[in-house]
């Protein structure tokens, strides 16, 4: 076979759901290569390639794999985080629809490298069809010996199970996901101890995003050297960007990291629908602060500076708003999301997110008072930094972002006691 898998989605149209089709595309060559070269080689390659986690946090993947591999406690687990709860993100769904075997290959590589025996795919509850698809894919792989006991003669085992979530955004957070897998309430745990040493059932656990696992076979296929040349020096590799909102061609785009935001929106997605002007962009999922049209030169990776904040890429979900969108309503809608998804463990997020939502609702309905903006800022300031996990921080960052960039719209709602865009009152 001369074909090599060098990109995450080889064919934008075709869904590769049969194992022979995947093998024909060059699948499982990375696994075979790793089986010959050994686990240390795999970790070295990932470190040299500079792969960073694709779930949103951007943690160096090689370091994580090495930490789990080094821990001597057994048994070890690998968990694929397919919860994909971040609004605006749908790239993992596409990977699972179009190239699920790539994920399996990535997980098999992980199992081989860290010597895990069991793997779980924590699949978002809202993807019921993918559950059946994944089970079928896993069965096919098992049949051909790519996973299972002593898969491919490597001496490593991997039993894969798909676990369905039940509609909680917080279960996309690593420790909350592990709690949910253990059958408990999906609430985050305190760290340290970190999951690489003390994760599922108190054992070393390697938890990564779908896209992260999907990148590993590509690294082995094309080599760490070439991989590191894709994208930016600090954030190499291809990235799937989920673009939605008021653009001509919304969808998932596989582009090198570090691509400027303007390129994504205007070149690839064809600009704003209906020829209107762009008003705001949320660059990396609702946990990142909103940007105005003059910030579009920002490069999408983990380290580029943009408007004072670093690394706006988040999960790569780009949501575009045109000039007719009411920003107060948008802020309210996002605040409502966070209030709904707060797990309730810590005081500031549990109470504060709903407070933000209530204030924004009043403002949107024209019942806001002068002091509300100052109050909102203070409440957000009290949540950020004091909450148990990043959900509280995200809620605060998101709201502050709207207040900073579009403060005039909020004031207009308060003074005019109505929405200038004719929004819901």
């Amino acid at each position: 076979m001369s074909k090599l898998i060098d990109r995450i989605i080889p064919d934008p149209v075709r869904c590769i759901t049969g194992i022979s089709a995947y093998e024909a595309e060059g699948g499982f060559r990375a696994l075979k290569k790793a089986a010959r070269a050994g686990p240390d080689f795999v970790i070295e390659e990932i470190v040299r390639a500079g792969l960073r986690g694709r779930g949103g946090a951007g943690f160096p993947t090689g370091r994580k794999w090495a930490a789990v591999a080094e821990d001597t406690a057994t048994p070890k687990y690998i968990i694929c985080n397919a919860d994909e709860g971040e609004p605006g993100t749908f790239k993992d769904r596409l990977i699972l629809e179009k190239n699920p075997f790539l994920l399996i290959e990535g997980m098999a590589l992980a199992a081989f490298t860290v010597k895990a025996g069991v793997g779980y795919i924590y699949l978002r509850g809202e993807y019921p069809a993918l559950f059946h698809l994944l089970e079928d894919v896993i069965a096919q792989c098992r049949k051909k010996g790519y996973i299972g006991p002593d898969f491919m003669g490597t001496g490593a085992d991997l039993e894969l199970y798909v676990h369905r979530g039940a509609g909680a955004y917080i279960c996309g957070e690593e420790t909350a996901m592990i709690e949910s897998l253990e059958g408990k309430r999906g609430q985050p745990r305190s760290r340290p101890p970190y999951t690489v040493n003390y994760g599922y059932m108190g054992k070393p656990t390697l938890a990564s995003n779908v896209e992260t696992f999907a990148n590993v076979p590509i690294i082995l296929n094309i080599g760490a050297e070439s991989y590191s040349k894709i994208g930016s020096p600090e954030s190499p590799g291809p990235k799937l960007f989920s673009v939605s909102g008021d653009v001509v061609r919304p969808g998932v785009y596989e582009l090198p990291m570090g691509v400027p935001l303007s390129e994504i929106i205007y070149e690839h997605c064809g600009g704003i629908k209906g020829g209107r002007a762009l008003k705001a962009v949320i660059p990396g999922g609702v946990s990142t602060a909103v940007l105005r049209s003059d910030d579009l030169a920002c490069r999408m990776d983990f380290t580029s500076k943009c408007e004072g904040s670093m690394g706006i890429i988040g999960s790569g979900a780009v949501i575009v708003f045109d000039e007719e969108t009411c920003m107060v309503h948008t802020a309210y809608r996002i605040a409502k999301f966070f209030a709904h998804e707060s797990c309730g463990k810590c005081t500031p997020c549990r109470e504060g997110t709903d407070w933000i939502r209530a204030i924004l609702l009043r403002m949107e309905q024209g019942l806001g008072v002068e002091d509300d903006i100052r109050l909102l800022r203070e409440v957000c300031g009290n949540i950020a930094g004091n909450s148990f996990c990043a959900l509280g921080d995200s809620a605060a960052i998101s709201t502050i972002g709207f207040l900073d960039k579009f403060g005039d719209e909020f004031e207009a709602h308060i003074k005019g006691k109505t929405c200038p865009f004719g929004g819901p009152v």
Binding site: A168, S190, C343, T347, N382, N386
Partner: protein, 873 residues
């Protein structure tokens, strides 16, 4: 469980500019608390895992980006921590603001006001005015549960209640439901808690969200007058209880005290079962039967009458026609004076108690074989065991706090093996062995022989070594039909290879139909495994009662009645003659047998209700009716008191001072909190002693205790003042204790394996209910509200064979009569066994059992020969 940092090491960290050295692993919050630096917390509870959700304990740690929750942060060497910076004060104010935005300002009507953490922190760190102008979350207060009120509007979601219920109590009865703003705490049963009602959640709740209905809306913490620490009198654990008395002298409430015994835990009885103290049915005045009716009389008249009648019977028929029942619910002082009255005043050795059914025989044999010091262990140390074997006992219902410690041990990784029926541990055990009753002791013997194959006994107890050499035991192969030998061998291996083994046994062992042999097997197991022994005593003072010689063949000390030195000393101290040592007194059931035959004419019953609590109670009641004089000293009109000629009202544990010895052999004091009608037991007995010409005239209970110290070689080192500090455990200064009073020659006939008791049909196991335990529980409205009706439980196979359907009313009958009882079918119960609820004093199930006196100990072992079940009409 953090298995990361298990090595203990010293850590030096700087808090607020001062260097402190603490022993790791420890959290920053704990390190600060140990050094008297107070960091406010809501969700931290020292006995359970940290949660980190309230965010009140945030501190600034140098080098860490965000403020850190000190309750979850491990202290590391060289850490620099600041706890009182302006940034932290802003954060605390913010957290309190968040807690208060949905918190209803119910302070004027909330019972927690004055002891509420949220109030206290708001005063220290919070804002004075709220700026929340939205709608507060509302949820109606739930008063559906009979004992606990749950108000979810006040809840700040610290989840201490949930975690305490799951991790500490092991009951897991409540949990968090919902998400975000709509989180709330709910019991798994819906609105009713339907749990063990230990009250731990109520104590843990920092705000007024979970409250007890017992003192709902009728007290304010600032109205408290005096406060005392005392000891609960429901069971042998002797939990510390803190009494709060109002300024007008009435009882405000009882809450658990942080004593070494129970460390703040209580059970439903201790927590909710004290309303009987103010029950309107309390006896308030002495009664004498005149013309067949009990009429109130004065104390003078009553005591004069009793003394004269006792003298009459003594002079007419001799001391051996008088008998007394002492009480494990009464203090050392009471029991000491009772036996003094009987022995010195009336010349009778016929004194016994309900300890005969339990601890008396166990103590005699196990204590005699192993030494008295080895018959007791600290309740709190149970949680550190590596292996626990409960022998036909359910510590969760018999000694609840001990049961909780067994659960804690299980959660920490101990192997818990339940031999026999122990429903309270069904989620906290590794193995259960439930052989048929007729063979169960033989299976225990097989277990011992399997252990002996693995571990050789060591130690210097010659008597034990000798016994082990000659004790006959069945092998696991012999008992393979009753219990698979692999199971027996596996359990033996677990026990023999564990470092820290604990054995628990109670009344079932004391009354076993296999006789003293089974008790010796138990003692041998304890010896070989070098195990900690826990003998459950059902009353708060069984050890004390036995130490005071309230047994037919013992003198206070305890010393055998044949001990010449002891006799001399006591006779000298009392200035009176003791009855002859050749006349051994009558034991518990023998007293009633003699009364039935007319040999015993007068009986003094103190704090007991034999008409209900003994097996074959129909026979006992008839015997009581034949007496010429029956004096009952009690707090309620029990069934026995209704047959009495004289009834004397006594005081409860909360109304008097005294001393108990609990199952750990720890001296515990009780204190007088409130006043009452009635006299203290020792005071009544002191006046009777005086009336009979003895040296008495004690003014306070401490005077009685001083005399006890002179009499007993074990108490001579103690002063009453030691007791209050709870530092005494006997043997006080270490040592093995008194040498065995056990006559091994007398035990020798019981070294053979007893025959398997034959019986067809089903086994009957009595299940002790957690909430109802004796007369006092029956007069506590709270316990009655949560008690379930008595049931006959069986599995599906047995039910089908009798054509019983769920909810049917059955007639259970034996050769002593029949009783109606409701059926309950549980498919997980073992075959061929019926589990009857043993509510001794209400359904009176013991009435339907006969008894055999166990040889050597005279414990009444209950049995029935012809039992059956019939569907009721």
């Amino acid at each position: 469980m953090n298995n990361m940092n298990n090595m203990k090491n010293m850590i030096t960290l700087t808090i607020n500019g001062k260097k402190f050295e603490v022993k790791g692993p420890v959290k920053v919050l704990e390190a600060a608390l140990q050094n008297n630096i107070h960091i406010p917390t809501m969700c931290y509870y020292p006995k359970i895992e940290s949660f980190g959700g309230c965010r009140m304990c945030l501190v600034r740690v140098e080098g860490m980006y965000r403020l850190q929750a000190s309750c979850s942060l491990n202290a590391e060497d060289g850490m620099v921590v600041e706890t009182e910076t302006p940034e932290i004060h802003v954060a605390r104010k913010a957290m309190l603001e968040f807690m208060l935005i949905n918190h209803p300002l119910d302070c004027p009507t909330c019972d927690k006001a004055g002891e509420c953490d949220l109030q206290d922190f708001s005063v220290l760190y919070g804002a004075a005015e709220g700026r929340f102008h939205e709608r507060k979350r509302t949820e109606p207060e739930s008063t559906k549960d009979p004992l606990i009120v749950r108000n979810m509007e006040r809840c700040i979601m610290c989840t201490k209640c949930t975690r305490v219920c799951a991790e500490l109590q092991g009951a897991s009865a409540i949990n968090v439901i919902g998400r975000g703003k709509h989180t709330s705490i709910e019991p798994f049963s819906g609105s009713k808690f339907d749990c063990e009602y230990c009250g731990a959640c109520i104590i843990a709740c920092p705000v007024g969200s979970l409250m007890s209905k017992l003192h709902r809306h009728n007290y304010r913490p600032w109205d408290t007058g005096e406060q005392f620490d005392s000891t609960c009198s429901y069971c042998g654990v002797g939990c510390g209880i803190h009494m709060q008395i109002r300024e007008d002298g009435t009882l405000q409430r009882l809450i658990p005290a942080e004593s070494e015994v129970n460390q703040g835990l209580l059970c439903a009885r201790g927590f909710f079962g004290y309303e009987y103290i103010s029950s309107p049915s309390r006896l308030t005045s002495p009664l004498i039967r005149k013309d067949g009716k009990l009429v109130p009389v004065s104390w003078q008249e009553a005591l004069k009458y009793v003394a004269s009648r006792l003298k009459e019977i003594r002079d007419a028929s001799g001391g051996k026609s008088l008998a007394a029942l002492a009480s494990p619910k009464c203090t050392i002082e009471d029991n000491y004076l009772l036996q003094k009255l009987m022995r010195a005043g009336l010349g009778s050795n016929n004194i016994d108690s309900s300890a005969r059914m339990g601890l008396a025989g166990l103590r005699r044999i196990v204590g005699g074989l192993l030494g008295h010091a080895r018959t007791v262990s600290y309740v709190s140390e149970m949680a550190q065991s590596d292996a626990v074997l409960t022998v036909c006992s359910d510590p969760v219902t018999e000694a609840p706090v001990l049961g909780v410690r067994v659960r804690n041990a299980y959660d920490s990784g101990a192997a818990v093996i339940t031999f026999g029926h122990a429903p309270g541990l069904r989620h906290h055990r590794s193995v259960t062995m439930q052989p048929r009753l007729k063979e169960q002791w033989h299976v225990l013997g097989a277990l011992l022989s399997a252990v002996l194959e693995i571990k050789k006994p060591s130690g210097s107890r010659e008597m034990m070594q000798e016994l082990l050499g000659t004790l006959m035991l069945p092998t696991p192969e012999d008992m393979d039909d009753a219990m698979p030998r692999e199971v027996v061998r596996k359990v033996a291996e677990t026990l023999a290879t564990s470092a820290n083994v604990s054995l628990v046994a109670g009344r079932e062992l004391a009354c076993s139909l296999a006789g003293p042999w089974s008790i010796m097997v138990f003692a041998a197991l304890a010896h070989v495994l070098e195990a900690k022994v826990y003998l459950i005593s059902e009353g708060p003072n069984e050890h004390g009662l036995l130490d005071m010689g309230c047994e037919p063949d013992m003198l206070p000390g305890p010393a055998p009645m044949t001990d010449a030195g002891a006799r001399r000393m006591i006779e000298g101290l009392w200035d009176a003659r003791l009855p002859s040592e050749k006349e051994k007194g009558l034991s518990l059931m023998e007293i009633f047998e003699a009364a039935g035959a007319g040999d015993v004419k007068g009986l003094y019953v103190m704090g007991e209700n034999p008409a209900r609590s003994l097996p074959d109670s129909g026979f006992v009641t008839d015997a009581l009716a034949k007496l010429d004089l029956l004096v009952v000293q009690d707090i309620f009109m029990t069934e026995t008191a209704e047959l009495a000629h004289v009834v004397l009202p006594a005081k409860t544990w909360i109304e008097r001072k005294g001393t108990y010895i609990n199952m750990e052999r720890r001296l515990l004091g009780i204190d007088a909190g409130v006043g009452a009608e009635g006299k203290e037991d020792w005071s009544i007995l002191s006046e009777l002693c005086e009336a009979l010409g003895l040296k008495a005239g004690y003014k306070r209970s401490d005077d009685v205790f001083s005399e006890v110290m002179k009499v007993s070689p074990y108490y001579c080192e103690l002063h009453a003042s030691n007791i209050r500090g709870e530092t005494c455990k006997w043997p006080a200064e270490g040592g093995d204790g008194h040498e065995a009073i056990l006559d091994l020659k007398a035990l020798r006939p019981y070294l053979d394996i007893p025959p398997v008791v034959e019986g067809d049909g089903f086994d009957i196991v009595l299940e002790k209910p957690l909430f109802l335990n004796g007369t006092t529980a029956l007069h506590s409205d709270a316990l009655l509200r949560i008690s379930k009706e008595p049931l006959a439980r069986m599995n599906t196979a047995l039910a089908d064979s009798y054509k019983i359907r769920p909810g049917d009313t059955l007639r259970f009958f034996s050769e002593r009569g029949e009783i109606e009882i409701k059926a309950h079918i549980d498919p997980y119960l073992p075959d061929n066994t019926v589990y009857l609820t043993d509510t001794q004093e209400s359904a009176g199930i013991l009435k339907y059992f006969r008894y055999n006196k166990m040889p050597f100990t005279n414990a009444p072992c209950k049995y029935t020969q012809k039992t059956g079940l019939k569907r009721g009409e």
